[in-house]
Amino acid sequence: MNMNHSRADPWIAEEEAMLEELASSISVYDSHRNNLIPMLQAIQKDHGYLSASAMEMVAGHLDISPSEVYGVASFYNQFRFHPPGKHRIKVCLGTACHVVGGDIILENFERKLGIKDGETTADREFSIERVACVGCCALAPVAVVDEVVEAHIAPSRVEGILFNFELERDQRDKEAQDSESAS
């Protein structure tokens, strides 16, 4: 990555690189309509979200209109249209989590990070999602942070989780600085 770019530019470069990669990866699918959802799933798996240009590309491949692709994608809960944060926080709001205060946990994350569910922080470090049920009802309330299930999560634990990430980040920055000054 060119370090002379301003803060937003690497992301444009990232999207361009992503589209290039997509063009080759979607060519393995034949242009039958029933491949639409598997294709969208594969794109989201690799890149974390569906960008407008990615959906246009899929539409072109299947020879349907982009609005139809968006119509299908927006129907299902799985698909997201913004890049996720580096750390993805999914708060479970299933029935069992609800009766023990899952919404309070969600609110705590939202308050601490200053974003709402479905959003990503401006530095793309964190994103929050609400999920219907991760199927660990006996461990409620539950949040999934970077694929790790946090069981019986208390409001004060939220602060602890975010604080740990902060420490990690400081550590990383420090190491980067050290290696820079060493070289």
Partner: protein
């Protein structure tokens, strides 16, 4: 279909079984210990991976040879991570909540020194003179495991373990019988679809078989969308081959050469496990081309559902497999005649298909002898919420709700009062205490106003507000309504708005009548099950807990003290300890300050009512109080600093 080839399917199967027996490691119990770790999603969430790593580490350290076998889920979620150890010379013993620390101690004490550490024991898995066995506990002995018999016992990623347990024998047997006879067996067994509606499975197969269509498909519906139910996931993760066997038998009966397992993408481990299982079965000639040498072919694929609750409805599910928005279609024509790509399609739930092998194995008479008259067999419930022993429970149909909640799952914890049980998720209803004698079967539950649904069961105690819970379910169904029918799309939105107002203390007397009539209109004006059942939580709670609605409306009071706008926390200055700062430290919004006499007080304008201060206040002070309506909390001015 020509079945008269040189070797019968059963002969081929016998050869396969012999090979499996060799691979699945002969009985080693006399020589080395075996450690079974429950590693399904719930076990992993509780830390089973760390536990496994700890076992591996300490075994290597101590130079002990032992087999670690990752298994599925026993369904005892309260005890995760759950480990069963077979140590030669001892009965197999189950240990609960095995943390990495406990794992290390267990290896050193039990495997090295021969002390089974009674303080960590859950129960022995078999009769012995030493330790109480699982048969002594109601959580085990009131259950009857038929569909879940292998869950948590075998390694789901190893087909041989399923084979040596008698797996695929029913398929081998079925292949040497005419399809009509198997369909008759299933019909005589009285098996009803376990997806919730309870349609007779045999009848469904019969209709599909009779259809002249040539490109028939069988779809296994594992789109478990009910927030609070996870038995389908557990079956996929713990015993995928049993499902595949049932699927293959179904396909053979109706004459389908293609099958699809429709799993939620939110279940990554289930997707992985079933995909592995399909590959293994294909390699063993139990799926794929010329199964066991017959002319029966079956290609099974996995389709990942993208998370839409309405796709549990069969016509919507088909739409989504075809790559469209999952909107339900008019029935008739039913999918058994015009389903996927307009061809005859049988859609069965995971539990339904997983029951098939045992029916073929033991016969329809045996199956009828289990459970209730009109609903034979067992039911699997995920009992969660305010119970001591939450988890998956498989019980014979006809067991009463009271037995299930109090005897099997241990009742409500912390000596709280039982209030209601919500059965069937967002489509079901809340039943009060007076219904605890209701037997669990399709017809009795529907009569009571709830429904079997997916089998999710959430137990609620005195601290759960019924209005709030009804609002929660409405928020879910409103979100998941596909938008096709006006009553469902707009009606649920209005219901939600009214409930929202009530839980915020802005309800009107007339709201209750509007709720009732609107709920009934939605039921009548909706095409699919989602809209038809969405008002159930509102109607049942209005019916059985009307006084709670009234307290919210006329007194601005939430009797369960759950609705946050209507409750407030305050600190009793007579109980608060001078100088204790615990609550100040835990408050996420810095709403707690030091008032006169170094006692603490809560700034109501900042408080978000998370309740952390109440939990953290040391029990010897017990100074934080919760009240409803919110005006009851005394206002303490923050001193100017």
């Amino acid at each position: 279909m020509n079945l008269h080839l040189e070797k019968s399917p059963q002969e081929r199967f016998a050869a396969l079984l012999e090979k499996a027996g060799e691979c699945a490691a002969p009985e080693q119990r006399d020589t080395i210990p075996r450690i079974y770790i429950g590693m399904a999603t719930c076990g992993l969430a509780a830390g089973a991976a760390e536990t496994k790593a700890a076992f591996e580490e300490v075994l290597a350290e101590q130079h002990i040879e032992a087999d670690i076998i990752p298994v599925g889920c026993l369904g005892h979620c309260y005890a995760e991570p759950l480990v069963v150890i077979e140590n030669p010379g001892f009965p197999a013993i189950a240990y609960h909540q095995v943390t990495p620390g406990k794992a290390k101690v267990l290896v050193k004490s039990f495997l090295v020194e021969g002390d089974p550490l009674f303080e960590y024991v859950l129960a022995a898995m078999e009769e012995n003179d030493l330790i109480p066995t699982v048969a002594d506990f109601p959580r085990f002995n009131l259950e009857q495991r038929i569909v879940m018999r292998h869950c948590g016992v075998i390694d789901p990623t190893d087909i041989n373990q399923y084979l040596v347990k008698g797996g695929y024998a029913s398929l081998a047997r079925a292949l040497s019988l005419p399809p009509e006879e198997i369909i008759r067996m299933v019909a005589e067994a009285g098996l009803r679809g376990r997806g919730g509606a309870g349609f007779p499975t045999g009848r469904k197969w019969e209709l599909a078989k009779a259809d002249p269509g040539t490109e028939k498909t069988v779809i296994c519906n594992a789109d478990e969308g009910d927030p609070g139910a996870y038995m389908d996931r557990t079956l996929l993760e713990s015993d995928p081959h049993q499902l595949l066997e049932g699927l293959a038998i179904c396909a053979y009966c109706v004459g389908a050469a293609k099958a699809v397992v429709y799993v939620r993408a939110e279940y990554p481990l289930a997707v992985e496990t079933i995909t592995t299982a399909i590959d293994q079965a294909r390699d063993a000639n139990l799926l794929g081309r010329s199964i066991l040498g017959t002319s029966f072919d079956l290609e099974v694929t996995v389709f990942q559902g993208s998370g839409a609750f309405v796709c549990g409805e069969e016509t919507a599910l088909i739409q989504s497999v075809e790559g469209k928005r999952g909107m339900p279609q008019h029935r008739p024509p039913y999918p058994v005649q015009h389903g996927l790509w307009d061809q005859p399609t049988v859609i069965n739930n995971v539990k339904t298909l997983s029951t098939i092998p045992t029916i073929i194995e033991h016969g329809s008479q045996w199956f009828r002898s289990v459970g209730a008259q009109t609903s034979p067999g067992t039911a699997i419930f995920s009992v969660v919420g305010k119970v001591i022993h939450p988890g998956l429970v498989e019980i014979p149909m006809g067991t009463t709700l009271g037995t299930l909640i109090f005897n099997i799952c241990g009742g409500v914890p912390k000596q709280k009062q039982f209030k209601a049980v919500q059965i069937g998720g967002p489509s079901g209803g809340c039943l009060p205490e007076s219904f605890l004698d209701t037997p669990v079967d399709f017809d009795s539950l529907t009569q009571a106003g709830a429904m079997m649904g997916s089998g999710g069961m959430v137990v609620m105690d005195e601290e759960s507000c019924m209005v709030n819970v009804a609002r929660y379910f409405l928020e879910f169904t409103q979100n998941e309504s596909c938008g096709k029918c006006t009553f469902c799309r707009l009606g649920t939105r209005h219901l939600l708005n009214i409930l929202d107002r009530i839980t915020k203390g802005q309800g009107k007397e007339s709201d209750l009548d509007v709720l009732d009539s609107l709920a009934r209109d939605i039921q009548r004006g909706s095409l699919c099950g989602l809209g038809k059942t969405a008002p159930n939580p509102v109607l049942t709670s209005l019916n059985y807990f009307r006084s709670e609605y009234q307290a919210h409306i006329s007194e601005k009071r939430c009797p369960a003290m759950m609705c946050r706008t209507l409750t407030a926390f305050y600190i009793d200055p007579d109980k608060c300890a001078r100088g204790c700062e615990v609550c100040v430290g835990c408050c996420p919004v810095e709403a707690i300050f030091t008032a006169k006499g170094r006692k603490k007080a809560i700034d109501q304008s900042l408080c978000v009512k998370c309740g952390e201060c109440m939990v953290s206040c040391p029990p010897e002070y017990d100074a934080v109080k919760k009240v409803s309506p919110a005006e009851l909390a005394p206002i303490v001015e923050r001193p100017e600093s």
